[in-house]
């Protein structure tokens, strides 16, 4: 028989452990991406000489290069200069930085969507810049951005499998190691795929619902 059911059931606990690592990776990575992306978007908007163009270039560069290579650079090159973390930390930071470049664009469109009158009102009230940003602009900008962040969260959940290449033991790496040790790839890989689908499909449905709820009023 091609599909060994008993074997498939016996590897579920191991795969679930891998799935839990994947989820941790995704949540921490999204947190980093959400914060860094916001910082990048605000810096770009402030038009600071040297710094703003530099951040803009970084965003374009990160978006134009593969996550796998970025992970390799962090994992193989940085230790040469004495900077080394364990695989999980490296993975979280790299995927966080990678997605922050995408989120910066999302925030940018959110900030652009805030009507000019809001800026003018803040200026008319002579609000200091920090309060203008924190109390007027960002609360309105982030609201429209939330569903997009959800989409990127799901995307990151699937993309985090790439980090198995730098020895982060998440779902994909677990499936792969079960495969190499038992010479049976069909069950672990199929089940890993099913687990990814099981989480990401309902999640994307949820985000779709949120999208409709938070959509800016036309």
């Amino acid at each position: 028989m091609i599909w060994d059911n008993a074997f498939a059931i016996s590897i579920i606990p191991m795969l679930l452990k891998g799935l839990w690592v994947t989820i941790q990776l995704t949540l921490l990575g999204t947190l980093i991406a959400a914060v860094l992306g916001l910082v990048a978007a605000v810096i770009r908007r402030l038009n600071i000489p040297v710094l703003s163009p530099l951040v803009s270039f970084m965003v374009i560069f990160i978006r134009g290069t593969p996550l796998l290579i970025q992970a390799y650079v962090a994992f193989f090159v940085l230790p040469i200069y004495g900077i080394s973390f364990n695989a999980f930390t490296t993975g979280v930071v790299i995927i966080g930085i990678n997605y922050s470049a995408y989120m910066a664009e999302v925030y940018r469109s959110g900030i652009q969507g805030v009507p000019a009158g809001q800026w003018e009102a803040a200026t008319a009230l002579s609000l200091p810049p920090v309060r203008t940003w924190c109390r007027v602009i960002l609360p309105q900008a982030v609201r429209t951005v939330i569903p997009m962040l959800g989409n990127y969260l799901i995307q990151m959940f699937k993309d985090s499998a790439v980090l198995s290449a730098i020895t982060v033991v998440e779902l994909m790496a677990t499936a792969q190691s079960i495969g190499t040790s038992t010479y049976r790839y069909l069950e672990p890989l199929t089940m890993a795929g099913a687990l990814f689908l099981l989480v990401s499909y309902p999640a994307s449905r949820l985000v779709n619902k949120m999208e409709r709820r938070y959509a800016p009023k036309q």
Partner: protein, 236 residues
């Protein structure tokens, strides 16, 4: 840096493989995008549902899982794929599933009046699609298609994990023989970046080329030219 120059031919070969993988899977991606995207708009559930399942499965799981599945799990069914075939198949089907949603979204967001006018003129559904809905949707599809293609290009780096000797694979080889880790990885990072910049420029050019207003202008100009030509013929 000297290691890079010494091993440049190897990197070149890798680059060619990367481009080959990108072109082949890009073609497959377009094929899948239109067939699945249109199938999801079909009024018959027997066509719509399988396409929906296909798109959700390929979008809902990781590309890398799919690639490994084609490479390691298919042999259990007696199907042994060449690494390149498995890689192209996984990349094309995965990105095709994303692009299918682009096709579906672009076509279903056309103004309803266009379909109604087609019906009023007695056009068959296939003709409406071919002559009205698809041509009108192309400009709307181009920007998201460009994103999918850049994504596809970047994801070709994953084919190195199923032993396709692409740019990333060659870089790993050079790294393990020379130990020049930093130089090698930074070089290919820049190479990938240049490739995606080129691809972005190409799609931007196409966006301009196929922009609706530009076509409208061209049509107008042609009509004017023909009209003036007719005047001349009439004068004769």
């Amino acid at each position: 840096m000297s290691a890079i120059i010494e091993y440049a031919p190897l990197l070149w070969q890798g680059l060619m493989t990367t481009i080959l993988v990108a072109v082949l899977s890009g073609a497959l991606c377009l094929l899948v995008a239109f067939s699945m995207g249109l199938a999801r708009l079909s009024p018959h559930w027997i066509i719509r549902w399988p396409a929906g399942v296909f798109v959700e499965v390929f979008r809902g799981t990781s590309l890398i899982v799919q690639m490994f599945w084609f490479f390691y799990a298919l042999p259990f069914f007696g199907i042994q794929l060449h690494p390149l075939t498995a890689a192209v198949l996984a990349l094309g089907l995965n990105e095709g599933a994303y692009a299918a949603e682009v096709v579906r979204g672009a076509i279903s967001s056309r103004a309803k009046g266009q379909t109604e006018a087609g019906i009023a003129l007695g056009m068959s559904p296939a003709l409406r699609l071919r002559r009205i809905l698809i041509p009108q949707s192309i400009p709307a599809m181009l920007p998201p298609f460009g994103n999918v293609m850049v994504d596809l290009l970047k994801n070709t780096s994953l084919v190195s994990l199923v032993t396709v000797t692409d740019l990333t694979f060659r870089a790993q080889m050079i790294r393990s023989t020379t130990g020049e880790t930093a130089a090698v990885f930074l070089t290919i990072l820049v190479m990938y970046f240049l490739l995606s910049v080129l691809l972005t420029m190409l799609t931007q050019w196409m966006e301009k080329r196929y922009a609706l207003d530009r076509r409208a202008l061209a049509v107008q100009r042609k009509a004017l030219r023909e009209a003036s030509l007719k005047d001349k013929v009439g004068a004769l």
